[in-house]
Structure formats: C-alpha cells, structure tokens
Amino acid sequence: MPQQVRAVPGLTAREQVAYAGWLKGMGRGDAWAEALTALNRVGLVEEANRRTSQLSGGQQRRVGLASLLVHDASIFLLDEPTVGLDPRQRSRFRETLRELAVARPVVVSTHQVDDLSDLFETVVVLDRGRIRFQGSVSDFMALAPAGPHQAEAAYATLVSGD
C-alpha cells in the first residue's frame, strides 16, 4: 500500500476496491463481490457506496487496505500508513491493522516508532540502505532506558544525524 492512497475520481469506495482487485488479476464479477467483503473487514462497509474522494484520510487508508485484502494478498507491505492521520484516525487504523495481522504477515515501513511495542513483533532499522538492527521489539527497546520516549531513544542510538 503506497504512502498516499488517492481516490480514483468519481469512483465509490467499493468501485475503487473492485478496480484494484481487477488490476491484481481478479475477474470483474469476483472483484465486485469481494470488494464488499474487504470493505467489511476494514470496517468501511457502510461507506461502500460513498465516493472515495468524500472519505476522510483515515478512511481512504482503509480503502487502501481493502484494496490489498480484496485479492487475498499473501503479505501486506505498507509504506508510512499513518502519516498525516490525526490521533483518532491513527488509532482506528492501527486497530484494523492488528486485526488483519492475525491472518497474514504485515510489513510496515515507518518513521513513527511511538506505538512500536503495541503493534509489531520484529524491528528492522535501515539507515542509508544498510541494516543497523534486526530483532524482536523487546531487544530493540532494550537499547534505551525505560521512559516515555523509549522507542525513539533506541532508534537514536542506531541512527545518527539528519
């Protein structure tokens, strides 16, 4: 899922998710049927017939997630999925992500590490294309003393400069 999930002008949420399914190789009929199921799984079934452009930023991200679910992706790769969302939208998105992660692996690329321990199991820190850390969340958090911004402090021990 790209960092910016953009609305397809004119299409409803269901139509956009179905179109994404078709682009991923599904038949038109299957994509249309599965789009509703996917929207249901991200909690957007009631918005299925609203234009995607009329949805909030958080809802549009969930449309993006539904676009991954619709064709039964075996792994989710999300790029900065919560950037630009307000705290309430971010919380709702994380909740959806947690539910989905039960069924399949989710890889998230992010600079926001504040909710790391709540959501993820493994951390890989990349800096200028090189792996600086790879391990469990608890090992990562142990790099810094306990405190209110422990994850950020741990990150700072691995990556220096701008």
């Binding site: 790209p2 953009r6 002008p9 139509e15 179109y19 682009l23 991923k24 190789g25 249309w32």
Partner: protein, 427 residues
C-alpha cells in the same frame, strides 16, 4: 475494467454518447445527398469523425488524467498497462463508433442507398478513433487535464481539419478523412486506407511508448517520435502523388449495359431504375448529333475515363435529380476535346464553352434547359453569349456548322490567343 453501471455514471464519453450521436446524425442531413451509392454516402458521413474524434480524444484525456491522479497508472499491477488502457478506451471508442455509424446510416437512408454502411469506412473510423483516443489518453497521463483536454481537442481538430486543407493535396489521405470519396464511377483507394492505418498505428505506438515504455522520459519521447517518423516514412510513399480524392476507378464488371440499335449504354446498378429512359435520351441525342455531322461513338458508359474503352463516350448524371437536359449535357461534355494543358492557364479553353453549348442544342436539349444551362453565361464584346452563337448555328448550313466545329476545336487548344473571330459563324 469497471462495471458498465459505473462507466455510465463516471465516464464523460458515455454521457456524451447521445448528444454526439444526435449531432452527427443532424449534421449529415446538411450534406448533399449521395446518388444512391453506398460507398459515397458512407464516405460523406464518415467526415463526422472530425468533431466526434476531437471530443472523444478529450474524453480519453480525462480518463488518462483519472488514472494519473489516482496513482493507479504508476502502481504495480498484474494487468499490463496495455490491458488497462484497452478497457479504459473501449467505451470511448465504442461511443465514437456508434455516433459515426449512426450518421452513416442516416446519410445512407436519405441517399436511398439502403441502411448498411460500407464496412471499410466503419473499420477506418474505428482505427482512427483508437488512435485519437490513445493520443488523448497519453496526454491525460502526462499533463494536467486543463492542458491535456484542450490539447486533445485542438490536436485532433488540426489533424482532421487543417491537414486536409493544405498542399500537397495527398497529405489528407494520411488522416483517414475520406470525405472526397467517391463518385459513382469511383471506389475507395486501398492504398489510402493502408497509409492512414499505418499512421494511426504509429500514433498508437507513440502514445504507448510515451506513457508505458520502461525508459527515462527523454528516451521515451525519442522512441515515440521515432515511431511516428517510421509510420510516416512507410505511409507517405503510398499516397504521394494521389489527387485530392482517395479513389480508384470502380470495377466496370458492375456496369449493366443495354443495347438500342447500334448504340450500347452502360450504367451503374444505382441508375438501373432509369435505364430505359436514359437509353432513350441517349439514342435520340446520338441520332441528332450524327445528323449534325458530329462524330459520336457507339458506346456510352458511366465507367471512369481511366478504364473506359478509348472509343467510348463517358458520361455521368445524378440518378435522383437529373432530367433529360442534364443527361444530354453530360453526354455533350464528353464529346469535347480535352482542356488544353497550358502553363499559366488557357485562354483558348474558353472555346469549349461555346462548343458544349452547341452540342447541347444539337443533341436535342430543350430551349428551357438551354436557358437554364447557358442563359446567364457571358455576354461581353470578346465573349459573346453562348446562346447567340447557338442561334446562329441553328440557322447555318451543315457545312457551316462543320466548319465552325472544326475551327472552334482548334481554338480551344490554343494557350495564349483569344480572338472572338475564331469562334464566329462564317457566312
């Protein structure tokens, strides 16, 4: 690929289907009705692609803009970009095809040429629409819609409206705008169709390379330009040197001939309903001409001059509107010597006017028809009114008439000299 219901709701091309079709059908009613000839009636109606193609190119630009703004065009996809473009453009092309085809059917019906368009023009329209839509889509994918939309409309309009109006005249055959096809004795030239198709394929390839090629932008632009150049290099030699109309002589095997005494009259199928009447007029005119000492062949045919037997008399008339006078006038014009080939024009060629006026009268054209044809033409010191000469010739002896014909034919072939004495009836 989106559902039909969705397409109807969101695609401007589909919103415009009805107005475009209605406008195209109305537009062809302003054209001169064809003479019952399917090829001609279809060709004339195919010119509606001039505005249908422009509007739909803009609609395709809108679809391209939609794909670009949504990020779907750049996103990884199982479907190829060709497949995505195909399903986006299919409704656009179909709308255009329906609009132009409907205009063709209307023009066929009003021309008394049935209801089934000539398939070559339908196919050409489809290929043209694919090219214009692909170009529009590319514009929408690459440029803001505020630029891409007008660019698509103007580009298509210039291609279909301006190029056919400039020299050399054969350039128009590259556009697929075949409105100058076809008289009854003509058929559509295959090489114009092939050349236009090659250019269309070049446009599609250029649009594809510009938007879907796996190279940097400059390389893609170069490749697109290369595709266009290759298309033109292939297509231009096919049409270079052609006249303004994309035509060849019609198959003379379709002519149906009738004999009356030693005269044979061959007409196209579209004129068969009036065959007996035309044969009667032609026979009477021929008898009169021969009586006036004019040499007339024994075969009158509607075949194109380029394929008609050298000793035949070529003529053509409009099956719906022509009366006896029009038929005689057409036959008489074929009795004339060719217009002289003079650099900077011919003054002697004016003599052909007087010659034809006399052939019309000698062939039996009624006084009212003569007035209609020649009554308001010329009446100057150097160029007497044709009917005054006709009147003098009618009162002349056969020898004087023969002498006049001989002198006037000679005068007609001179390039720089004009002397009214050359065409005067000698006492």
């Amino acid at each position: 690929m989106i559902r039909l219901r969705t397409a109807v709701r969101v695609m401007p091309a589909i919103w415009l289907a009805l107005p475009l079709t209605a406008f195209a059908c109305w537009y062809v009613t302003l054209l001169y009705a064809s003479d019952g000839y399917t090829v001609d009636a279809t060709a004339k109606a195919s010119m509606t692609i001039g505005f249908v193609g422009a509007v739909l190119a803009a609609c395709a630009a809108w679809e391209g803009s939609r794909l670009r703004r949504s990020g779907l065009w750049a996103a990884p996809s199982v479907r190829s970009r060709w497949a995505v473009a195909f399903w986006v453009l299919l409704p656009v092309v179909l709308v255009g095809l329906v609009a132009v085809s409907a205009a063709m059917v209307v023009n066929l019906a009003r021309s008394g040429a049935g209801f089934v368009p000539d398939w070559r023009f339908v196919a050409m329209t489809a290929i043209d629409l694919v090219a214009y839509s692909a170009a529009g889509l590319a514009a929408g994918l690459l440029l803001p819609i505020a630029v891409a939309g007008p660019l698509a409309i103007m580009g298509t309009f210039i291609w279909l409206g301006f190029v056919p109006a400039i020299e050399p005249v054969w350039l128009r055959h590259l556009t697929g705008m075949f409105r100058d096809c076809c008289g009854l004795e003509q058929d559509l030239a295959l090489r114009a169709v092939v050349a236009s198709t090659v250019v269309d394929l070049g446009i599609v390839a250029a649009a594809g390379l510009l938007t879907a090629g796996p190279w940097p932008r400059l390389t893609r632009a170069g490749a697109a330009l290369g595709a266009l150049v290759v298309a033109f290099v292939i297509a231009v030699p096919m049409v270079a040197g052609m006249i303004y109309a994309p035509v060849v002589a019609r198959d003379t095997g379709l002519l149906q001939c009738k004999e009356n005494g030693d005269l044979t009259v061959c007409l196209w199928p579209e004129h068969q309903a009036r065959a007996d009447e035309v044969v009667e007029i032609a026979t009477a005119a021929r008898d009169r001409w021969m009586g006036a000492g004019i040499t007339v062949p024994a075969l009158f045919t509607e075949a194109d001059r380029s394929v008609a037997p050298s000793d035949a008399l070529f003529f053509s008339f409009n099956g719906a509107d022509s009366d006896e006078g029009n038929v005689i006038n057409s036959l008489a014009s074929s009795l004339l010597p060719p217009f002289p080939d003079c650099e900077g024009g011919s003054t002697g060629g004016m003599a052909l006017i007087y010659l034809q006026a006399w052939y019309d009268a000698a062939g039996g054209m009624s006084q009212s028809a003569l007035e209609r044809e020649w009554g308001e033409m010329l009446d100057e010191p150097n160029y007497p009114a044709p009917l005054k000469l006709v009147d003098q010739l009618e009162h002349a002896t056969p020898a004087q008439q023969a002498d006049w014909i001989s002198r006037t034919e000679t005068a007609s072939q001179q390039c720089d000299t004009w002397d009214p004495g050359l065409i005067a009836v000698q006492p």
